[in-house]
Amino acid sequence: MLITLEFSGGAEMLFDNKKSHEVNLPDTEKWTIGSLLLWIRDNLLRDKPELFLQDDTIRPGILVLINDADWELYGQSEYVVEAKDKISFISTLHGG
C-alpha cells in the first residue's frame, strides 16, 4: 500500500532532512497509525528514536496530521491507514 509521509518543523532532521517520503507498506496486515509509527521507527528512523517516539507513541510537541487534518479528529493512533493517505508529522516551532 503506497502512502506519503511528510515531516516538517524540524522533524525532517530525523529522516535525512527529507520532508516527503513515498513509502510502500507491506500488505500483510491492517495498518493503523499506531503500527505505522513503529514501522517508521524500524524502517525510516536513522537514530535517536526517542526524539520521535516515547512509550511507543509520538513524542510531545509533534502534531500528527491525516490528510491535512489533526489526527485527533480521526481517533489518533487507532485510525486505519488507507492507500494514498498523506500522514504528516509537524514539529511545533517556538522561535520568533
Partner: protein, 283 residues
Amino acid sequence: NKEAISNLNNENILRYSRQLILPEIGVKGQLRLSNTSVLIVGAGGLGCPSAIYLAAAGIGTIGVVDYDEIELSNLHRQILHTESRTGLKKSASVAASCSNLNSSVKCIPYHTVLSSKNALELINQYDIIVDATDNVATRYLLNDAAVLCQKPLVSGSALKFEGQLTVYNYQNGPCFRCLFPKPPPPETVTNCSDGGVLGVVPGIIGSLQALEVIKIAIGLPDTFKQRLLLFDGLAGSFRNIGLRPRQKNCAVCGDDPSIKELIDYEQFCGAKADDKGKNLTIL
C-alpha cells in the same frame, strides 16, 4: 474603565481613508479598532511586523513586553529597531517606531520578563494577546494566562524557513494545551539562536498575526481559530490544517481544569524562558 472612542476626527478620517472605504471595516470597524487594546509579548522577529501593522491600522492601545536589549544580531529580522538603538530596550524601541508612524496610538512598553507573577495583571488590561515569543516556557505561560483571563491568543512562530500561525482560546476553540498537553523534551527544541531563521519568515508570520488581531477586533469570521497555517518559505507553500476542537479534558481550558492559577513554567518545560541559554536539564 476606559472611555470608548465614539467618533473619528478629520485627521483620522484622512489617515484611515483607504481602509474606511472597505465595507468590512467602515467607520464602525475603525472605531472598534480604536477601542481595542492589544498586548504583544515579544519585541523581536514576530513582534516588530505585528506591532507596526497594528499601529498603522489604528489599534487604540498597544502594549509591548520584552526584557531584552537590542543586539546587532537581531537586526536581520527585527525591523523596527535601528543600528543607533543597539543596547537600548527592545520594548521602548518598538513603541517609539509605532508612535513615529501613528501618534494617535497609545504605545506602552514593558521592559520586563513575562512571569507567573506579572502575567495575569498585565494580560487582564488588554483585549487581545499576541504570542510573539521565542521559547516553550513562555508559550505555555502565555497560553495559561490567556485562558485564565479569557483573552484570545494569536500565536505565531518561525524557525529557519518555516512558520506557523494559529489562534488559541477564541470562540470556544482549542488552546495550546489542548493540542500539546505535555511540553516537548527540551533536547528536541531548537531556537532561532541555534537553528537560525531567515528574517522575512517571521516578518510574514508576524504580519499575518496582525491581520488575525484586526479580524478578531472587528468581529470578522474565518480567523485561524481551530486552524493552523503551515508556511514553508523554501517551497513557497502554505497549508491550512484543521485542528481538534477544545478538549474537555484540557488541564487549563477543559470542563474540570486542574490548572487554576499560573505555575512554574521553566520547571514544567525543563527549559529556561529565553532563547539564549542551554536547557536547564543540561546545566
